[in-house]
Subunit: 213 residues, 2 copies
Amino acid sequence: MTGERRKFRREGADSRRQALVLATLDLIAEQGVRGATVRAIAERADVTQGLIRHYFSTKDELVQEAYLAHMAGLTEQTFAGVVEREAALGRLAALVVASVTPPVVDAASVGLWAGFLNHVRQDARMRAVHAQTYHDFRDRLERLIVAALEEAGRAPDAGQARRLAIACNAVIDGLWLEGGALPEAFGPDELTGIALTAVGAILQLDLEEAAKT
Amino acid sequence: MTGERRKFRREGADSRRQALVLATLDLIAEQGVRGATVRAIAERADVTQGLIRHYFSTKDELVQEAYLAHMAGLTEQTFAGVVEREAALGRLAALVVASVTPPVVDAASVGLWAGFLNHVRQDARMRAVHAQTYHDFRDRLERLIVAALEEAGRAPDAGQARRLAIACNAVIDGLWLEGGALPEAFGPDELTGIALTAVGAILQLDLEEAAKT
DNA sequence: GGCTCAATTATACGCTTGCATAATTACAAC
DNA sequence: GTTGTAATTATGCAAGCGTATAATTGAGCC
């Protein structure tokens, strides 16, 4: 009865790193940062804990990469399907709807974001990722807003465009947050309607009509 | 050279509990939940760790009480100074301004909130506190909105009032979040102006004028 | 001034954590 | 088939964690 050593398959560095990152995100989403221990991550990725050290020189490095992946995925999910429309107004409406609809609005996603925030505040590199993700999203939103306004024959100056983008982004973020943190407080399509009305009111555009087409 | 035992003063249960709660909030705000260990909390409160167990049967109980205190303080800070005006419009403007101004908007405060969120998701009692805090705030906001609209000769029905409150709350929360998480991204009074304009646009009321008086 | 008792300190236990290092093994090259 | 090597497992360690419990001590009361 020799202690049977565990069998394993060799895999490429990329696929293993990705698997570890995914396992990390799963665990943080489910149990908070507390639950994402090195051992739990390894188990979830079906690997022994030593391997983590082989791919990431420290746990913080893994967490950092997981954060990057999560934020990139969030932006990607939000903008998926936005480009396929002709009118800027329609694209804007689609973006707003996507921002307050699953899978973007989701308890795990918000929990993940919150779990990372304190790491973000203490690590310079994560702070940079955070700032860039935020600004990227807001810039794309601002360009869409400007396009939609120009389409309607209005031309905001730079300062106005910036302020409008910040305000619309705030509506979206606020609803994202509340929808994710307190899902049972809202009806099925309630957030969608509110988001379209509110952003429409701020921009003085009819987004609700545009969303239907 | 006998190991000198530490001197101490006896204090009332209330004051000690409060000191421990404050120390907990300080630490979570500064270093995240990770840094708020029993030993660190005790040191910050100038007490030995055994005393924590004397007042709280478990660490989670202390964290729970700290969360309650933080949320109550946040609502209180936001509504302080709102009641002193005659016109509902002015009170609403004051509330909006207070919501996006320090000390409510603050990196530590947002960090605290984020640090608690994952505890909230796993503990039923904390979830109840969270839901109630949110609904309390939104209900007060809704009443203020209804009063301001009636003052302007408009009478929203219940559904409209609810949706308007959710939307305005989202703007406020979104700006609170972004202002706290990314302070350097905004000018000094920028958030105030944006908040007033955006909420004003949603409600079709002139809040900026009302805020000046 | 001594008694009493809760408030406080002191100490220690068992567990988990992140990290290090040595031993194995799958797989490709020749 | 042998060999080389990087991928993977196995094992261990020191530190920190929350919790339990026993020993002290301040302070009000008679």
